[in-house]
Symmetry: C2
Subunit: 378 residues, 2 copies
């Protein structure tokens, strides 16, 4: 019987595991939140990932459970582990992806470079942090945020009053995360794969271009990066993967400061938008690598297969009709473009697909990728 | 609604269309011969491709019908066309892939270089051909052969007596195909994609290594090939695609003679084993290209993305257990190897998977591919 990987969550990350699973000959089974999701082709069940019985029933049909997102509650994960299910990454790693205060505290223990931060439980404490950091701070809800949600830049603590009020009503209570507003020259991401037996593979560090808190574009490898910087980034990625006992793909979002330091911004313990370029530009894509890692198979070569890759997200999509109505124009104008769509209905700001172009000349590669992606917008 | 491609036949060629279909966002539907075939993930129906009603019912659920093999009878294809189904490649092209005598006659009309040949209807005519060609000939049944089946090298016409007897009982009657035994230095394959509107793209010519009439290995591009030879091969490929009105992928198997001529050996009007390397070594794989071509979308760039690619078939597989039991050894020893398995039970001589390695150094690439593939055998 084929090896069977179960993915909780039916979004585009699960969908993009289908191609390498089919090619390797791994059976992929998806527990989707609803019908007609991105990964429907491999969906064998539809159900609520917050319900332990649902997830356990699904887990019993596979060899290992992994995730399309980090939102499965710890209580559900605990039931899986107690029932003998192989859960990768495990709950003890995932809690650091689920709670940014825990993550900051753990990274501090590991000596990882990060922005100044504090757990603030009331307006007074936040204002003191703001005052100590030049009159501004980033405030984050520790749980539930993604793609810029749950993040605010404030110059007065009262701007987070509603979040403190919500915290007071949350049974888990706790604090908000205050971080210094980093003076960065650009954002980078370092991906690492790790398998249970400990083997790790680091990908090239990439530059990520964010717009409105959402990843718009990724350049691989990050241009103008010194060997020292690449080495530091890889050490940070490997150190976090090992220190947090991550299994599968880990993405470490980094700030490069104006004085050339790297500071850890966010973590993701799954395939990540910053690694979509690997589908077309690396020997082993992050999606194949994630499958290999969670199955505890030897990891694949993570080096780039061409000098440059640029990935541009399709955000929103056409106002009328589907993405495929733009295939003709995009393919005719850009025969080197690798077009990926997620089977999702276009909606303003929604990630509905991406375009990757690889090649020897960064200017040309970036131009082709941007121009092809723009043909899917109005 | 997504564009829908229907594939008749559930083998590994249909299976390998799944990955690019999912990535592009094309809905792939497969009419499989039986349950649990290679392309089962996308199989929406199981039925007999020789039954016009079955195939027509399937065709009504898709935008275009294409094929995993060339065995759908002309009578069935005619029903589809009369019913307004888009059939690509169409029956008028497919008949040349279904009948080698028709193919030889048409290539002769097009002035394509090919071995000396004749339609022989009895032992006497075959013996005359043998006598005129140095005492040996290749005899082929015009219909139904593949992977070396239906092909014999003979030095006396009586060795084909059973085939003449079978012909006499075949309602379609006809003749056997006699061909000169070509004195070749190696075998090559030229792939071309063509869409209904006429756009064509030629891939690099590759060297194919056959063992026992079955493709064992493919080297892309064919080493030591002069620009003139590459140009001649591409012209042959494009000329045949246009002359036979092929839509989709066309593979032209060629002999390179000891005096440096190229002669057409066989044709295949579908993705082909000689192009599996394109999954990992070309900007646009033959499977994505076939989907684009049959949907009449602009074709993708067909150039190689790395200097060399070597594809080695896994023929037979392990005597005990599945291919996935060898993943550990193969992946550990060869992290650059791209392993593809077809979900088929191992059986002596059966194509159950392949391994592709790409890179800059042909010797290393070929070594890695052969060594990784050998780990799937006993």
């Amino acid at each position: 019987m084929a090896l069977r990987v179960g993915v909780v969550g039916g979004g585009q990350l699960a969908r993009m595991m289908i191609a390498p699973a089919v090619e390797l000959g791994v059976e992929l089974r998806v527990l989707a939140e609803e019908d007609a999701m991105a990964a429907s082709l491999a969906a064998v069940a539809v159900g609520d990932y917050r319900d332990a019985g649902t997830v356990l029933g699904f887990a019993r049909t596979v060899d290992v459970v992994t995730f399309d997102h980090e939102h499965v509650p710890q209580e559900v994960l605990a039931v899986l582990v107690e029932s003998g299910v192989a859960v990768r990454p495990g709950p003890s790693a995932l809690r650091f992806a689920q709670d940014k205060l825990l993550m900051r505290a753990r990274l501090a223990e590991l000596g990882m470079p990060q922005p100044d931060w504090a757990a603030v439980t009331d307006v007074g404490a936040l204002q003191a942090f703001i005052d100590a950091h030049g009159g501004r701070a980033v405030v984050k809800t520790p749980r539930g945020g993604y793609d810029g949600k749950g993040v605010r830049v404030v110059d007065a603590a009262v701007e987070a009053e509603d979040w403190f009020a919500a915290l007071a009503e949350d049974a888990r209570g706790g604090a908000l995360l205050a971080e210094e507003l980093v003076d960065f020259s650009r954002e980078l991401a370092q991906q690492v794969a790790r398998r249970p037996s400990g083997e790790v593979r680091a990908y090239d560090i990439v530059e990520t271009v964010q717009r409105g808190g959402v990843c718009a574009e990724v350049i691989a490898p990050a241009p103008h990066s010194s060997e020292r910087m690449r080495d530091v980034a890889a050490r940070i990625g490997v150190g976090i993967a090992e220190g947090l006992d991550v299994v599968g793909m880990l993405a470490v979002e980094l700030f490069e400061t104006t004085d050339q330091r790297l500071l850890v911004n966010e973590l993701a313990m799954r395939p990540h938008n910053s690694g979509h370029w690997t589908q077309d530009g690396a020997v082993t894509s992050q999606f194949e690598q994630h499958l290999r890692a969670v199955l505890d198979l030897p990891l694949g070569d993570a080096t780039g297969s061409t000098p440059w890759a640029v990935m541009v997200n399709i955000l929103g999509g056409p106002a009328d009709g589907g993405l495929d109505e733009r295939f003709d124009a995009a393919m005719a104008a850009h025969p080197r473009a690798k077009i990926h769509t997620y089977g999702k209905a276009p909606r303003p700001g929604r990630k509905v697909g991406h375009v990757t172009v690889t090649g020897d000349d960064l200017d040309d590669v970036a131009y082709q990728a941007r121009a092809a992606a723009s043909l899917f917008l109005d």
